[in-house]
């Protein structure tokens, strides 16, 4: 039985909230907060309902023809569900965070409006059932994030916004060309109809290879694959919640998710393997991982360091899917969730430091663990997770990546993992050392750059609560990875579906 309305409702919760927010006056922050939060909670509930229904074996799909040969098609599968769940969860957390973060700052209406649109597009990307629909929301995401990136409105932000657009619009164009070409070749392919391309036979392989590269180029911009990553560190000028969302779910992840879709649901992993493109993917991912880490090491400011860390980490997903075998798949998919949780935590923390103490540079963090223990603890958890240490979520990824690498016969990937772990440690542990073991203003040496006492606790509760929640989640999904409904479980489910048809 097909129930088309639930995915539509889920899309609508954030899509329709945007005009509502635009209509509310700028000063009605209370009403806006209520609207935002209730929509976010509603979406989470609906997604939970969807997950439940999906496990019951219900089929949710919705579609109509837009033009001949291209349909708007929403469909729910395990992979999309994972991504939708992540975005719904993080939307709630980030909304709470943003309400606290943007207190008393101008243009909040605009911010929250586009913020909702941004999430709507992300959920759309998650639920998209074919490449056309995916493209639709993918481009919408670019548009919705631009006002968020330039939100501050100063020169640097505008510059970053311009660069962001240059990259993403060009990428979107390339993607559009690729998708159109695919349509011209075989028509509309719903995600999961892998046999369509495989049936074309070997004479179509050169064409398919070219198309794959074109599509990869288009998606790689958002996924920040080196050398298409230039926009990401610059986009750091955006407010912290935006960076958090941008890095954790929205933009970067949309690109990675697109690559996952491309490899598994459009081409099918066996076809990609047959075309010999997995090696290329893994090499790109490796270069990105190492380059991102090295660049992160040379950053002196907190957010750019985190940004380069994202460049590096998102490629774990690509690396995972490039390892031919169920473990690699699981690694890639599960990292989609894990990286989101951990990175969002780190960005929340960076935002907390900036808001409460005015800290932007790493060397200003000396002794901040004393002043802001909760935040610093959260940061520690996130950082350890990024290095890939148990029990934080990152370990699970690394474990499966390693297993997948061996399974795929690419043992050299393990060396990459080791190097990446060391590099991650090299740029995160000094921060932790500064936080906890150095003496700073909290010990009576010097002053914080710009201290504001935002709340009864170490900082405003609006900021602290989401941080704590995502921290807890990042630990729990790692520690209790074996539980049903955990990301690992979902990823395993997807992978087994993929490999045992």
């Amino acid at each position: 039985m097909s129930q088309p309305w639930l995915p539509l409702f889920i899309l609508a919760t954030s899509l329709l909230v945007a005009p509502l927010i635009f209509v509310l006056p700028e000063r009605a922050w209370r009403a806006r907060a209520v609207v935002n939060l209730s929509a976010a909670v509603l979406k989470l509930v609906l997604v939970a309902l969807l997950v439940w229904g999906f496990y019951q074996g219900r089929d949710y799909s919705f579609g109509f023809t837009v033009v001949d040969g291209a349909a708007f098609f929403l469909q729910v599968d395990a992979l999309g569900l994972m991504f939708a769940g992540l975005s719904a969860l993080l939307w709630l957390a980030t909304t709470v965070y943003a309400i606290g973060y943007l207190e008393d700052s101008p243009n909040r209406k605009r911010f929250f409006g586009f913020f909702s649109l941004c999430i709507a597009s992300t959920v759309g990307i998650a639920l998209a059932g074919n490449l056309f629909t995916f493209l639709l929301f993918y481009e919408l995401l670019t548009l919705a994030t631009y006002p968020l990136v330039v939100h501050r409105g100063h020169d640097k932000a505008l510059q970053a916004g311009t660069i962001y657009l240059r990259y993403t619009l060009s990428g979107g164009l390339v993607l559009l060309l690729g998708v159109v070409a695919l349509h011209a070749l075989v028509g509309d392919i719903a995600f999961g109809q892998r046999e369509r391309l495989a049936d074309l036979g070997p004479e179509a392989h050169p064409m398919l290879t070219v198309l794959f590269l074109v599509l990869l180029l288009g998606l790689g911009v958002k996924a920040a694959l080196v050398p298409l990553h230039g926009w990401l560190p610059r986009a750091m000028v955006a407010p912290a919640p935006v960076s958090a969302l941008l890095h954790a779910v929205a933009v970067v992840k949309a690109g990675a998710f697109g690559i996952v879709r491309l490899v598994y649901d459009v081409y099918g992993i066996s076809l990609v393997h047959e075309l010999g493109l997995l090696m290329l993917l893994s090499v790109i991912a490796t270069v990105t991982i190492l380059y991102g880490s090295v660049k992160a090491l040379s950053q002196q400011e907190l957010k750019p360091r985190l940004a380069y860390s994202t460049v590096s980490q998102v490629s774990y997903i690509v690396l995972g899917i490039s390892l031919f075998g169920p473990f690699g798949t699981i690694a890639g998919l599960v990292h989609l969730m894990h990286q989101g949780l951990m990175k969002v935590t780190l960005f929340y923390c960076a935002g907390n430091y900036a808001e409460e103490l005015g800290i932007h540079r790493i060397d200003e963090l000396d002794g901040a663990g004393r002043r802001m223990p909760m935040t610093s603890l959260a940061f520690t958890v996130g950082a350890l997770g990024m290095i890939g240490l148990p029990p934080v979520a990152g370990f699970i990824t690394k474990w499966y990546l390693g297993m997948g690498a061996v399974q795929a016969g690419m043992s050299w990937v393990i060396v990459v993992l080791m190097a990446s772990s060391l590099l991650n440690a090299a740029y995160f542990l000094p921060i932790l050392h500064r936080l906890w073991f150095r003496h700073g203003p909290a010990h009576g040496h010097g002053n914080w750059p710009e201290e504001r006492n935002l709340g009864r606790f170490e900082t405003s509760a609006w900021l602290l609560l989401p941080t704590a929640a995502t921290t807890l989640f990042s630990i729990l999904v790692g520690l209790l990875a074996g539980m049903t409904f955990s990301p690992l479980d979902l990823a395993t489910f997807v992978a087994t579906e993929e490999y045992l048809p």
Binding site: R370, L389, F395, I414, F437, H443
Partner: protein, 598 residues
């Protein structure tokens, strides 16, 4: 009863949580005017007690947890029992000792000294965390839990090493953490590779996997090196002499007594020792060679150290080198391993307890109790001689090992080990000598927990063969006729030490020249290399940065030029305005041409 397993691991964490909460309440509440609560109270010291109780449990336990990581499986069996027992015991003793050792800081903290309070708080939090990690790694059977325990212990111990926060402590901490992380990376690589090759989730599967895998040699090498960092294999040993002297004495004791044993435990857990199919004999030979080299080199380096704890650290390196060579035997002669496991365990337990007692003794010699000096010296010398293999547990352990090795046909190794024992004796003699030099004024009350813990440790160390449950056949007492063979290295060591002492007395200045060698030997080489590498990287990075800046700048210039060019181009718009009609006719002609062409 299998709940005892999680309780043993979780109890330290609960203790940690309690300390954290107490601290948070003190910070949050407006209770600053009241005296601070005691941080290292009885509850805190009780952290290893459940583990100790578990170690006394006679049966075997297993505890599975589906949803834990990738499927948790914790086991408590005969092989783990001795490790858990001496580990938990030493942790407990060191904990009690710490309450006395840090009493001064405690007083300062209660009086309102912020920095003392911070240090103490850190100690009170990192101690149980390290303990929990240590216990978990002993009890874990699934690889993720094992790795979790190992990494938790490693990272948390950093907090213990840098406790004092001074320059030396930071340097020691740096050496510790850098080496530890290199080790972690190697371990991770080895674990992933070997586990991936057979989709293994438990340690026993892992061993089987390595034995079967084609590249088993490389996996085993990675793992051996990775754990070797912790176990102080020569070349990787540099952190020990740097970290031990700066850590608080109880922390040094557990570091050297238990935590470095985690490396040995790692070898035992992951290497396919005793598996005839494994074909890792060449690795085994390399291990034996490296172990013996470590034993000798560390002895040579150690005797010229000045800080007693540094000397003891080198002694640990030396002893662990011997232990490593025994592990190597397990790979070279797999058939011998079942027999060798018991003496190895005994040796590890003996070394753990004895080294613990020795380290605790350093604190005692710095703050001697009000007891007769001869008694203290005797008590200090007892574990020292034991370590040299002359008395009690050391004698028995060495005898046991020799017996097994001789039966297995490794007489050469026995001789080498005996020679190495001379070095060990020299080292402990040097340590005692340095302790004597640095002895403090007797002040400690004889009922202080510090003293009691030490006394208990000394006694327990002496009696390790009596209580350590190493397995069924039990510890064979060396027959009397073997005694000379066993005792000569210690005797030779003592004599040599005496000679050196006399020489030193004769010409003081000459001796000092030798003592210039700083602790951590190779570390300084590494540091220089690292500096060079860093400088090189910085240069390269700077050049790249400059290059990319240049490229970017030139791109910006080009873009500006392009824009200017475009702006210029807009002037041509006038042409279109003026020539509209001719252009129209031109278009018509063009189209006509097109039609004509087809």
């Amino acid at each position: 009863m299998s709940l005892l397993l999680p309780i043993a691991v979780l109890w330290p964490l609960l203790v940690l949580l309690r300390s954290g909460l107490v601290q948070a309440m003190e910070q949050g509440g407006m209770r600053r005017h009241e005296p601070r609560r005691e941080l290292l109270d009885g509850w805190w010291a009780s952290a290893p007690l459940p583990a100790l109780i578990l170690a006394l449990w006679p049966g075997e336990l297993s505890f599975a947890l589906e949803s834990w990581l990738l499927g948790g499986l914790w086991q408590y069996d005969a092989a783990r029992r001795p490790w858990l027992m001496f580990g938990a015991l030493l942790w407990f003793l060191a904990g009690c000792y710490a309450r006395g050792y840090l009493a001064e800081e405690q007083r300062c903290a209660e009086a309102g000294d912020e920095s003392a309070f911070r240090r103490l708080l850190g100690f009170s939090l990192f101690w149980p965390l390290t303990l929990a990690g240590n216990l978990l790694l002993i009890l874990a059977e699934d690889i993720p839990s094992f790795y979790l325990g190992f990494i938790t212990m490693t990272l948390a111990a950093y907090g213990l090493v840098v406790h004092t926060g001074n320059h030396d402590a930071r340097r020691g901490g740096l050496a510790y953490i850098v080496m530890a992380l290199c080790g972690e990376a190697l371990i991770l690589g080895g674990l992933l590779w070997s586990a991936g090759s057979a989709e293994a989730l438990t340690l026993s599967e892992l061993r089987a996997a390595i034995a079967e895998a084609e590249q088993g040699l490389w996996m085993a090498t990675l793992l051996w090196l990775g754990f070797g960092v912790k176990a102080g294999v020569i070349v990787f040993h540099v952190w020990l002499p740097l970290a031990h002297p700066v850590a608080p004495t109880p922390a040094s004791a557990v570091l050297s007594g238990v935590m470095v044993k985690a490396g040995v435990l790692g070898w035992l857990y992951t290497l396919p020792l005793g598996d005839a199919e494994a074909g890792l004999a060449r690795l085994g030979e390399a291990i034996i060679a490296a172990g013996l080299a470590g034993a000798f080199v560390a002895a040579l380096l150690g005797v010229v150290q000045r800080h007693p704890k540094a000397v003891l650290a080198y002694s640990s390196v030396s002893q662990l080198g011997m232990l490593a060579s025994l592990v190597g035997v397990g790979l070279v002669t797999p058939g011998l391993w079942p027999a060798l496991l018991a003496p190895v365990t005994l040796f590890a337990g003996h070394h753990g307890m004895t080294k613990g007692a020795l380290f605790l003794g350093v604190g005692i010699s710095e703050h001697p109790p009000r007891l007769p000096a001869w008694l203290i010296v005797t008590l200090l010398a007892l574990p020292a001689l034991s370590l040299g293999g002359a008395l009690t547990s050391g004698l028995i352990a060495k005898g046991f090992i020799k017996e097994v090795l001789k039966e297995g046909g490794h007489s050469t190794l026995v001789s080498w080990l005996s020679v190495a024992a001379v070095g060990s004796t020299l080292l402990v003699a040097r340590a005692l000598w340095r302790q004597w030099h640095r002895r403090g004024e007797p002040a400690l009350h004889w009922r202080s927990p510090m003293l009691l813990a030490w006394l208990f440790a000394v006694l327990a160390a002496a009696g390790v063969p009596l209580w350590l449950p190493i397995g069924e056949p039990g510890v064979p007492w060396p027959p009397l006729k073997e005694l000379p063979g066993l005792l000569w290295p210690a005797g030779l060591g003592v004599i040599l030490a005496g000679l050196v002492l006399l020489t030193a007395k004769a010409g003081k200045g000459e001796w000092e020249k030798f003592s210039r060698l700083p602790a951590g030997d190779l570390w300084w080489v590494y540091l220089v290399l690292a500096r060079w590498a860093a400088a090189g990287l910085t240069t390269v990075g700077g050049a790249l940065q400059l290059g990319s800046h240049r490229v970017r700048a030139s791109l910006v210039v080009k873009e500006r030029r392009a824009r200017a060019w475009l702006d210029d181009l807009t002037h041509y718009e006038r042409v279109f305005t003026h020539l509209a009609v001719p252009l129209m006719i031109g278009v018509a002609l063009l189209l006509l041409l097109g039609f004509w062409l087809g």
